[in-house]
Each structure stands twice: as structure tokens, then as C-alpha cells.
Symmetry: C2
Amino acid sequence: MYTYPFRPKTPYVAVDGIIKVFDKENFLGIVLIERKNAPLGVALPGGFVEIGESVEQALAREMKEETNLDVDIVRVFGVYSDPARDPRFHTVSVTFECVATGKPRGADDAKIAKIFRLEEIPWEKLVFDHSKILRDFLYGKRE
Amino acid sequence: MYTYPFRPKTPYVAVDGIIKVFDKENFLGIVLIERKNAPLGVALPGGFVEIGESVEQALAREMKEETNLDVDIVRVFGVYSDPARDPRFHTVSVTFECVATGKPRGADDAKIAKIFRLEEIPWEKLVFDHSKILRDFLYGKRE
């Protein structure tokens, strides 16, 4: 091991998942959760990365915990790091696009987990910067 | 502000830059630095994200500090988070592809900053997982 003169102070790292749910070839919608803890509201499923796990492992764990779905990762969709995006403290979100089949079931930090058709996303209830993330996802990223 | 029952423990967040340097339309190579601090060796320029800055701001700041170049971001190339990738502690790297013109000059954590043609990348001297990152960059990502 190397010794190191300091421990850096950096933002926290989290993962969020844009889970596209399919029934065979049919796209059903994406999964959103209703949060059990503050900030209350609707959100993409996600959570903090633990020390000792990769972001891909954290994503799989959090999606399973909050939605009971086993997801396949398509790609890193984006990294969201505006210091004001999380009202609690500075959190960097590594946001993944992923796919799954089956019916989500909320648990852990998710009171409810449910598939939303893209036309019925409850934009006004989304917390953090998840409306920006989903706008970027649906309409393309803009600076 | 929200109150929150705990402070999460997550890996540290850093940024690294794959800087492609151009002289007008001519691609000259990418920038690597020789590190001043442990782990000693050759690396992509990069550093830790500070609380209160976005990853894009951190990237611009670190590239300027270590290479004196003003870079334009092309995209997030990848997120590297293997717990063993940094011998000091668990660090998640948000790795950007970016472009710049001009001559790099090492400073801060970089003893030297220099343009390397792709054929002269000193693979055996690269620290962290930067040989993996550059292999992914040159040959495509594989699982």
C-alpha cells in the first residue's frame, strides 16, 4: 500500500437507473419510485455507491433493493454533478441506461416502484434533478 | 435545507482527461504527465473533484493546473470504479475525452506534461488503471 499525505474531500457518489421495461419486444415504460425518505417525491431508483463496490455493482444492488428487478446495463447515460442537484449535500450521480423485464416491486427506500409510460411521467413530482435527467434522456442532451 | 439522518460513506470522486492535442487540423497526440506524488509514474492528467464544483469544472481546473491547457470537453468517455484501481483508497474516475491546442507545461502534481503520439505511449510506466483506460480508448471498450 502507498501512504498518502491526505484524505481528499470530494462529493458523495451515487448511481441512478433509467430502467426501460420490456415485455418480450414491447416497451412498457420506465420505472420510477416514490421515495420513503426526504426529499419526498418521485425519483429514478438509485442510491449511494459503497466503498469496495464498482458503480456497476452499486447499480445492480440498488435496482434490486428498490425495484426487485434484475437489470442489464446498456451504458453510462451521463454524470450529473451540479452541486445544487441534491438538497442534502453535494452528490455526483452516475446515471445508467438499463433494461429489465418483469414487474417492479418497491422496497427499501422505495415506498412504491411502478412502470410509467413516457406520456405519464409525473414531471412536477420528480425530485433532485431527475426531471432534467429524463428530459435529457427523452429529448437529447443540451448544454 | 433538508435534514438527513446520516452521511453516506462512498468512494472519492476524481476526474481524468484524455486530451487530444491538435495543431490546426493535425492531430499531434495525447497528453500524459509524470506524477510528482505517489503513486509515481506516468498518468493521464486528473485529480479529485472538490465539493461545490461540477465534474466539468473539476476537469477544466485540473487540466489547467497540471498541463496549463484550456480544454474543450467532447464527452464523458467512461466511469472507472474498480475498488482496486487506485492503490491508495477507492476512487471513482469520471474520465473525459477532450481536445486542446497549444503546448502542455507540467505544474502542480505534474512534474512534466508532454504530448505523446499514440505509437509512443509508455504503457509499462502508466499508473492506476490508465493503461486499461487508454486501451479502451484506442481499441474500444470490452467487458
